[in-house]
């Protein structure tokens, strides 16, 4: 226990870095993922093909491999990062974007056909149909799965700890080295800080899910 109390500053620093990684990667992934989903349903075959390829490959690649590529292989190829956080954000957002694209796409599918038909019958173009009619309605059904993806993102950010970024998991490894006799408490402390993020997000997902279910 004393080890945990003694290393509270490190925990706090790690907690903030985990939050930082998750928030930045989450925002990038949301934007890229939505664009990928729009490409996936677009009339242009090349865009559809590219998006399908990207999503399939990214979803089937272990995150550790993407991290290995971003943090170890890329620098060897001459792409130098000043901070490894940048590599971590690239890896996390490119991985998560694929899952977000899938969720948004299934949200698009959940909007009743009549909505798109009505929009088209008054002469809207594809971009207008998607931007003004379908996506705003898809957002409702998509939010609970999106929150689940963001929870997974927070947990996935722990992989960064193994690739030179001192976030919660990274500090956990370091501290369990420093306090070899109190590993149990050190790691439970790390777990507590993760749950501090994931449990409220999970409750939020449940709440929103219930809201949406009633509204429909």
């Amino acid at each position: 226990m004393d080890a945990v109390i003694a290393s509270l500053p490190q925990y706090w620093d790690g907690f903030l870095r985990t939050l930082y990684l998750s928030v930045i990667s989450g925002i990038i992934a949301l934007i890229v993922g939505t664009i990928l989903a729009a490409m996936r349903v677009s009339p242009v075959a090349a865009l559809r093909g590219f998006s399908t390829f990207y999503v399939e490959v990214a979803r089937n690649t272990p995150l550790t491999i993407i991290f290995f590529f971003a943090a170890i292989v890329l620098p060897r190829l001459g792409v130098k990062f000043e901070q490894f956080e940048v590599a971590a954000i690239i890896a996390l957002s490119s991985y998560t974007a694929a899952f977000i694209a899938e969720a948004v796409r299934s949200g698009v599918n959940s909007v009743p056909v009549g909505q798109a038909e009505a929009a088209r019958s008054i002469g809207m173009t594809f971009i207008q149909v998607l931007g003004f009619i379908v996506l705003p309605q898809a957002v409702r059904t998509v939010i609970p799965p999106l929150i689940n993806i963001l929870i997974a993102l927070v947990k996935n950010s722990s992989v960064a700890g193994a690739f030179f970024v001192l976030e919660l998991f990274g500090y956990g490894r370091q501290l369990s080295n420093d306090y070899g006799d109190q590993v149990l408490w050190i790691l439970l402390g790390v777990a507590f800080f993760y749950l501090l993020i994931t449990v409220p997000l999970g409750l939020l997902a449940h709440f929103v899910e219930r809201k949406v279910a009633i509204a429909r």
């Binding site: 349903v41 009339p43 242009v44 075959a45 090349a46 865009l47 979803r59 089937n60 690649t61 272990p62 995150l63 550790t64 491999i65 290995f68 590529f69 170890i72 292989v73 060897r76 190829l77 001459g78 899952f99 969720a103 299934s106 698009v108 599918n109 959940s110 909007v111 009743p112 056909v113 798109a116 038909e117 088209r120 173009t125 149909v129 998607l130 059904t141 609970p144 799965p145 689940n148 993806i149 929870i151 947990k155 996935n156 722990s158 193994a162 998991f169 956990g172 490894r173 369990s176 590993v183 790691l187 777990a191 993760y194 749950l195 994931t198 449990v199 999970g202 899910e209 279910a213 429909r216």
Partner: protein
């Protein structure tokens, strides 16, 4: 292909689409060409760098890769075999009618689902001082059993109420009705999600790299360290390709099972689908959520 999102393209739109596609392909090819040229400048494509895969070193290199694949698959297989029954047990406890069984199980499940798998692996490794293999397997089992339990619970809850009522009405006990009426249907209905979770489990074995388990990625790194930095990219390239191929083929199996299952569904209600077609209009957010429910890793 027709979609409700846009008109069936006329000749003009087809032309534009064709031009757009051509430009897009050219753009991607251009970016790839620049990347390849940059890599070539660094000598990545020099024959001697790839010689490890066919030259005199090849048998050793491939046997190392083979060992890596085997230990990846072994960890995944053992974890899956233990996690599934444990998931069923946890699911039974989670839907138990007795509050003092149900509520603690719920807390445990939330705890397991809310934690990074790597952290559990490290925890097992350091606190119980096990070997790396055991740490990887236990970490995977704990996390995936919790997810399996949630998937099965969603499956049971998606069954029509009458199934259980009918079971109870013919005199089955609650537990008997669960096991002989509800579970078989739930498993069948949730098979696509269960197999999809198996893909996640397989992917997560790569986290073993972090706790020092000698799976494929770790073998690749050991190989690159041994052979020298020049061989890092070729080794990584081959390793990543193998990983992706294995995962893609398991994913294909999952999609195949889902297609097969959706033709003959149990219980009269169509099983929730993992990948709905473009705007099929099937509008059932609850069924969808139950599929999206389990977190992706």
């Amino acid at each position: 292909m027709t979609s409700v999102l846009y008109d069936v393209p006329g000749p003009k739109a087809r032309l534009y689409s064709l031009i757009g596609s051509a430009v897009g392909i050219l753009l991607i090819v251009g970016i790839l060409a620049i990347a390849v040229a940059t890599l070539a400048q660094q000598g990545i494509f020099d024959a001697e760098r790839w010689e490890i895969f066919y030259g005199p070193m090849a048998p050793d290199v491939w046997s190392l890769i083979g060992q890596g694949i085997l230990s990846t698959l072994a960890a995944a297989a053992v974890a899956a075999i233990i996690a599934f029954p444990l998931g069923i047990a946890l699911c039974l406890l989670r839907i138990s009618l007795i509050p003092w069984i149900r509520i603690p199980t719920q807390v445990v499940l939330e705890f397991l689902r809310g934690m990074p798998v790597v952290l559990m692996m490290l925890f097992v490794l350091l606190v119980f001082a096990t070997g790396q293999f055991q740490a990887v397997v236990v970490g995977l089992v704990l996390y995936n059993a919790a997810i399996f339990a949630e998937i099965l619970r969603a499956g049971i809850q998606s069954l029509p109420k009458g199934q259980r009522e009918a079971g109870l009405a013919i005199g089955l006990r609650s537990f008997q009705s669960r096991m002989s009426i509800e579970f078989p249907q739930a498993v069948r209905r949730m098979l696509p999600s269960l197999v999809a979770q198996l893909v996640v489990l397989l992917k997560d074995t790569s986290l073993g790299y972090i706790v020092g388990y000698e799976e494929l990625l770790r073998k690749i790194q050991i190989m690159a360290d041994f052979l020298g930095p020049n061989f890092l990219f070729p080794a990584f390239f081959v390793g990543a390709a193998i990983y992706i191929l294995i995962n893609l083929s398991v994913s294909r199996i999952a999609i195949w099972i889902e297609r097969r299952g959706s033709k003959k569904t149990a219980g009269g209600v169509a099983a929730p689908s993992l990948r709905t077609g473009l705007m099929v209009g099937g509008n059932d957010p609850i069924a969808k959520d139950s599929v999206e429910g389990p977190e992706k890793k």
